[in-house]
Amino acid sequence: MSAPRELPIATNGDVVVVRQQTRTLAAEIGLSLVDQTKIVTAASELARNALVHAGGGRVVIEVLEGGRRPGLRLVFTDEGPGIPDIEQALTEGWSTAGGLGLGLSGSRRLVDEFDLVSAPGEGTSVTVTKWGR
């Protein structure tokens, strides 16, 4: 069982590293190619969110073993301004950074479990999990 890996998200290059590490672990636990692509894409969206909205953050990537199916869990945290209206932030097309507003709503559709904890002034934490089939 591999220990959780913590990666910083401070630059555009870090976003690429998060993608690469997620891809490596997703392949290691035997996720299908489509599921690998989905979790890596979600990781890319969420890492960019942390960078753009909070000026950076970090992610902990953890392999979940021991259950019926293996899984990959990513926890993104930042100490940014937080999200005042989570429901609105999860609405497709809602964007505060001039993007497409697909980052949060889109990544939620790409994973099996999605949990968002945030409050104004208290940063944001997004946990996503993808399970093997």
Partner: protein, 121 residues
């Protein structure tokens, strides 16, 4: 930041993305392509993403933006070589790449550009 090379073949510009795109490289590619379309008078742009493992909303939007920019500069853009897993993920993400022409491979992309120009001319 890594720069993506742009090749010229006749009046077509070919970009084959072989690196893990970071956001700065994506923006640089947009500007480089716009400059090259004007300086070479190219009528078509082919972006080959055969080697691209993921397309997220930022990279996807780049394709739409490049298509719109080159169209204003009298050149059509075709994205070729998308992997099936990338297509599935893009649709689920909610990105339909409206306004972007796609072809399965480079050869079909070139044929598409010839057809488009033949139809217009």
């Amino acid at each position: 930041m890594q720069r993506v090379p742009i090749l010229k073949l006749g009046d077509i510009l070919i970009v084959s993305i072989q690196i893990d795109l970071d956001d700065q490289s994506v923006l640089a590619l947009q500007e480089d392509l716009a400059d090259m379309v004007v300086s070479t008078g190219a009528r078509g742009v082919i972006i080959d993403i055969t080697a691209v493992e993921i397309v997220d909303s930022f990279i996807g939007r780049m394709f739409s933006t490049i298509a719109a920019i080159t169209r204003m500069l009298d050149a059509e853009t075709v994205v070729v070589g998308m992997r099936p897993a990338v297509a599935i993920t893009l649709v689920e993400l909610g990105l339909s790449l409206g306004g972007v022409r796609t072809a399965l491979n480079l050869e079909k992309g070139v044929a598409m550009l010839e057809h488009v120009r033949g139809g217009a001319g």
